[in-house]
């Protein structure tokens, strides 16, 4: 009996150690590498790498792109969730599936589709060129590609949450004479605020970190159309490894902050989130 208990405990320990070893090897070691390489040449090199003009321009562009793409997808996510969660109509399943679609498209294809529309040989390319509007190889194209890859984040967090909350509170407010906007801001928004924040967090992390889609439409013009991930690539390909990792460590820091905030939301407001319940 005791022998089987010991065997059982040994088996458990072996499983746990295997799991920990796997995650260390696949996830934690790469993360440690980022910070180790970033500071390999010391603080001053790090500080210089993240404050030289091209790096600052890339940080600025990344912030601008996220500041446009995230609010657009928030407005869309809230509108889509309102229509889908509060009303019944045919084709709802199709609509939800279409909203999820960008998640299953390769990042490079996500960039490609905008080149096909707005590129030099794209559907609308020649007309745009004639008007002097540049979409591909400019900030506009980067924003479009970012909007596409982050498209589902807010909506897919809000839809199940609002479906679960039902329509009774809103109906009461409307019946008592509140306007639609007033009902939304005083009744719906307080109910979904943590779920919304959760969606925004994930949307923002992806928007700032997107590489493949943005890489296709950006044109890699230093100081102009390079976002942080693209700047990392350029430095790395120029063999400025420490510089590349310095900028990369900022992005890794953003990822860690996002994860911690996400965990905080799940622990504290787990009941008010849709996605967290699944964990």
């Amino acid at each position: 009996m005791t022998a089987s208990l010991i065997a059982r405990a040994a088996f458990r320990t072996a499983l746990v150690l295997t799991g920990v070893a796997f995650v260390t090897l696949v996830v934690l070691l790469p993360l440690a590498t980022v910070f180790e390489e970033a500071f390999r040449k010391g603080w001053s090199y790090f500080a210089e790498a993240v404050s030289e003009p091209d790096a600052v321009a890339s940080i600025r562009l990344t912030l601008i792109v996220a500041a446009i793409a995230v609010p657009l997808n928030v407005i869309f996510g809230v509108a889509a969730a309102w229509a889908i969660a509060k009303f019944e109509f045919r084709g709802k399943g199709v609509l939800i599936a279409l909203i999820d679609l960008p998640f299953s498209v390769s990042p490079v294809v996500s960039g490609l589709i905008y080149v096909l529309l707005y590129g030099a040989h794209g559907w609308f390319g020649p007309e745009l060129q004639a008007m002097g509007v540049k979409v591909i190889f400019s900030v506009v194209g980067i924003v479009l590609a970012t909007v596409f890859v982050t498209f589902p984040f807010v909506a897919r967090e809000l839809i199940p949450l609002m479906q679960e909350q039902g329509t009774q509170e809103e109906e009461a407010a409307i019946t008592l004479g509140a306007s639609g906007w007033r009902t939304f801001f005083s009744v719906t928004l307080p109910n979904i605020k943590w779920g919304l924040l959760y969606g925004v967090l994930l949307c923002n992390a992806r928007a700032m970190g997107e590489f493949g889609a943005v890489s296709v439409v950006s044109g890699h013009i230093r100081g102009q159309t390079n976002t942080m991930p693209l700047h990392v690539e350029i430095l790395y390909n120029d063999y400025d490894i420490a510089g590349a990792f310095a900028v990369a460590s900022l992005l890794a820091g953003l990822a860690l902050v996002t994860l911690i905030a996400k965990l905080g939301l799940e622990w504290r407001y787990g009941g008010e989130l849709a996605a967290a319940r699944k964990h």
Binding site: R12, V16, T18, G19, V20, F22, V26, V27, L29, P30, L31, T33, V34, F76, A79, A80, A83, I84, K86, F87, E88, F89, R90, G91, V94, L95, L98, I99, S104, V105, S106, P107, V109, I113, L116, L117, H121, G122, F148, E171, I174, G180, A205, M208, G209, G212, S215, V216, P229, E233, Y236, F245, A248, A252, A255, L259, K262, L263, K278, H279
Partner: protein, 282 residues
């Protein structure tokens, strides 16, 4: 555009809530502009080559090799994730050990870490000359991971890990322990209980996780491109081929590869759906 794929929408009659027209209208407009129109442009484009041209574009040796490589490495990585993801979900749900929450949180890192950052980290880690892992592997086993297909697999394992764990974990948490106890009381060995009672319940979620990890890995670019080495016919992935075609203004050729990948991920999603329905019906 909006009439393209969506059935006619009509709100439920007896609700007093306003805003259906506005929110639905905006949703359909935005969806059409951002997602549907660009995807239609993708699907239409390759056919300017005609059917023969399409086949020729994707069967060109370098393109075919890249598609094969992307699908094969994605399949291997998803299989690795299926095994270790199941193990991780199991220990996270069933065992209590120090650092469990940290381990749980670490699983989400591949979702949050930008792919390019992961990419250069893997390339550095496995560099045969100076990497923490690459150098000992080279010196002890004469094994080179970076710039070979095995390096691609490692990056794809990283990218796909959360999918399997996060698919299996909630199902395992909700699993009714009564059946397991009944099985044990009736004299089943623990491995028998695991195979006969637990695994059948986990199977659909496990398969979903595997398929999601696979679908994500097929199209992955950022985390792979730095460690792949990108040698034609050997370690060039399909997304890289798309970029090369675009750079030479071969839009139709690029779209042909894109449509092939999109079609494949559509089939995968369809398979997930069918499998889940099949399990639900049993």
């Amino acid at each position: 555009m909006t009439a393209l794929t969506l059935p006619r929408a009509a709100p439920r009659r007896h609700t007093v809530l306003p805003g259906f027209g506005l929110t639905m209208g905006f949703t359909l407009f935005y969806l059409s502009m951002v997602v549907l129109l660009p995807l239609v442009a993708l699907i239409v484009r390759p056919w300017e080559l005609g059917w023969d041209g399409f086949i020729k574009a994707v069967s060109e040796p370098a393109v075919y090799a890249s598609l094969r490589l992307s699908f094969l490495t994605a399949l291997i990585a998803a299989a690795v994730n299926a095994v270790f993801g199941l193990l991780l979900a199991w220990i996270l749900v069933r065992y209590r050990f120090p650092g469990r929450r940290l381990l749980d949180a670490a699983i989400d890192l591949p979702f949050a870490l930008p792919t390019a950052v992961a990419g250069i980290a893997f390339a550095t880690l496995y560099s045969p000359r100076s990497g923490w892992l690459g150098q000992p592997l080279k010196e002890t086993f004469d094994l080179i991971v970076a710039f070979t297909p095995s390096g691609i697999v490692i990056a794809l394992v990283f990218i796909g890990l959360p999918f399997v764990v996060r698919s299996v974990q909630p199902v395992l948490e909700d699993l009714d322990r009564d059946q397991e106890e009944a099985a044990a009381t009736l004299g089943a060995r623990s491995w028998q209980t695991f195979l006969r009672v637990i695994m059948p319940a986990l199977l659909p979620a496990w398969f979903t996780g595997f398929a999601l990890a696979f679908a994500r890995a097929v199209g992955e670019y950022g985390s792979v491109i730095f460690i792949a080495g990108n040698r034609p016919l050997y370690s060039e992935i399909a997304p890289l081929k798309i970029i090369q075609k675009l750079e030479s203004y071969d839009y139709a050729g690029a779209s042909a590869i894109g449509v092939t990948m999109l079609g494949a991920s559509f089939l995968i999603l369809l398979a997930i759906n069918l499998a889940q329905r099949w399990v639900a019906r049993r």
